[in-house]
């Protein structure tokens, strides 16, 4: 083996060294915004419009369930990301841990566009830390089969006798356990051990008959791929599936379900706080808000944006549920220490 050793070494050092330089150079570029958000939850064109307008680069990292987002933030991510998208029940959790930066309202004039229900919500009075991003529901996405009625109840998941074909569960503790609780007629915020145990057993039995767990986007894509007939999804995924494949439909089960509001928040240790607030303001713009909801097919909390949203979407009850349906929907609460019950139940469901 004839290799000129010193030369090879020098070569190698050069490569490694230039790789380091390259890494440094990449960081020294223009200002960046680090956004940590659900997958398929923002129109890429909105991102590039923001990049263009503010001459910056947006780094997007994705998550499939909101608890994993919080895990990453707690496990060393607190000083890395600028904007995160916690759901309403997670906002108090993040506030109590001082993970969120108070919003400087003077930097977010578009706050005035928020609908009245979303101004000063119960989980964040006076919008000190968050602004609503999108809202929606948890329900069933089902493929229509000729000669079979569409499922209208959680029974198609939890009762083997009323099965509507192969189904997928949602990989999100509160939403999945909440569905089992609702099916039994309990509150989605139950902390009664016997109710939770029963919900756990329902979920474990359902798991053994299911095609597995996935995030809402994964469930939607697998139903579009005909891997499963029915699955638990969020409303936006349900409505988007109906656009991609008219043979599918989104249903809110008659027993009731979960309603939620996702929020934009700036992290307390955000490296680019100013740009983050500009981003919040940008999203709250009326036209951008309309573009966003046209992409996600979730409901907008932006009152001003409604003027630019297709009437067809505004009249779509899968996106904006009727009042009599909303009566059966429940918000998730922050349960404090009692959340441990859910963690234990969830670990058992996923592990059994």
């Amino acid at each position: 083996m004839k290799i000129n050793t010193p030369l090879l070494n020098r070569h190698f050092c050069a490569v490694v060294f230039s790789a380091f330089l390259f890494a440094g150079a990449a960081q020294a570029e223009k200002s960046t915004l680090n956004l940590f958000i659900w997958s398929e939850y923002i129109d890429p064109q909105i991102v590039s419009a923001f990049e263009k307008q503010f001459d910056c680069k947006v780094n997007i990292d994705l998550y499939e369930d909101v608890d994993s987002m919080l895990a990453k933030i707690q496990g060393g991510g607190a000083g890395l990301y600028d904007v995160v998208v916690p759901s309403d029940n997670l906002v108090p959790v993040m506030m109590k841990q001082n993970l969120l930066a108070p919003l400087r309202h003077e930097n977010i004039p578009n706050l005035k566009n928020l609908g009245e229900k979303f101004v000063s919500p119960a989980y964040d009075s006076k919008n000190r830390f968050t602004v609503a991003y999108q809202w929606g529901t948890v329900g069933l996405l089902a493929r229509k089969t000729a000669g079979q009625p569409l499922p209208d109840s959680w029974a198609c998941i939890f009762d083997p006798a009323k099965s509507a074909g192969s189904f997928m569960l949602i990989d999100s503790v509160r939403d999945q356990v909440g569905a089992a609780l609702k099916y039994q007629g309990h509150s989605v915020n139950s902390i009664i051990p016997s109710e939770l145990k029963a919900a756990r057993d329902l979920c474990i039995a359902a798991k053994s008959r299911s095609v597995g767990f996935d995030g809402s986007v994964g469930v939607k894509n697998k139903i579009l791929a005909k891997t499963a007939q029915v699955g638990i999804v969020y409303s936006g995924e349900g409505v988007r599936a109906m656009v991609d494949d008219t043979n599918t439909t989104y249903i809110i089960p008659k027993e009731g379900s979960v309603i939620w509001v996702d929020n934009l928040a700036v992290l307390a240790k955000a490296p680019h706080r100013d740009l983050a607030e500009k981003f919040l303001n940008f999203i709250l713009d009326a036209r951008i808000g309309a573009q966003l909801s046209a992409y996600t097919q979730f409901a907008t909390p932006n009152q001003a944006a409604r003027a630019f949203i297709k009437p067809l979407d505004l009249e779509n009850h899968a996106i904006y549920p009727l009042p009599e349906v909303t009566d059966r929907l429940e918000f998730l609460n922050d349960l404090g220490f009692k959340l441990r019950l859910y963690d234990e139940v969830w670990t058992q469901i996923k592990t059994r």
């Binding site: 608890d67 895990a71 798991k207 019950l341 963690d343 969830w346 670990t347």
Partner: protein, 303 residues
Amino acid sequence: MPEKRQMHLGQQLTRAGRWSRAGITSGPAALWLGIFLALPLAAILAISFLTRGEYGGVELPFTFDSYKRLAGFGELGFDSLYPVVLGRSLALGMATAVLCLAAALPLAFFIARLSEKYKGAALTLVVIPFWTNLLIRTYAWQILFSPNRWLTVAAHSLGIGTAGEALYPGTLAVLTGMVCDFLPFMVLPLYASVEKMDWTLAEAAADLGADRWRVFRHALLPQIWPGLGAGFILVFLPATGQFVIPDLLGGAKTAMLGNVIQQQFASSRDWPFGSAIAAVALLLVLVGLAIFQRKGSKHEVLP
């Protein structure tokens, strides 16, 4: 050969000379492993005895709660779940190793018996999957096992699974993925032993009237023992601690230790409990490794 080691590049070294050279050469790596391997593993052990904060994170006081929960005494009363998961991981690891062994033996003998011309190619064909990304080879089984694919249909006609449904997620899919992913790890060391084998021993045994099994058992097996041991440990330990394969092909139906650990550090945000499971997994590996190294010192199992 201690006296030979004291000679360095043909020169006699004093004890100080030896130690300083050892420090310069082995020191940096030792320091690195001390900081980025030993300290983190010590941290995980320490945290497994702490208490989970209200919203994740860790707090004092010291407690055995995580280990109690692992033993089955959790928030909702006694449950044998975690011991079952431990057993399942060990059983799946063992099944993978045994199936890989059963597949690798004929393959190794096949390659060894090929003429020189084809041997290299046959071996390269085993090495290629070994160098190919494991994640890719694993999720490919999702496609192979999806509903109405001929493999799935064939399995259904044999009474495996439900007609019209995918063969994954489930234990069968996990095991298939594991065997497929780990097979090269068994074939390569085994082949190295088979290749070096002295076939005249087998011929002699056959001449003396031994049947096929006895020839294999007494003339061939002792010769391939080192390769077999290396292959076994290279498959069994990583298979037992797998996360990706049960995650992609098991769909929470065949959760193993790795999946429970991941869940604790992700959605459940329970570091002490996750650390306790990780500590148990680590202990398992160290014990397994020690056993094999002890056996191996007789048979030269590891390089």
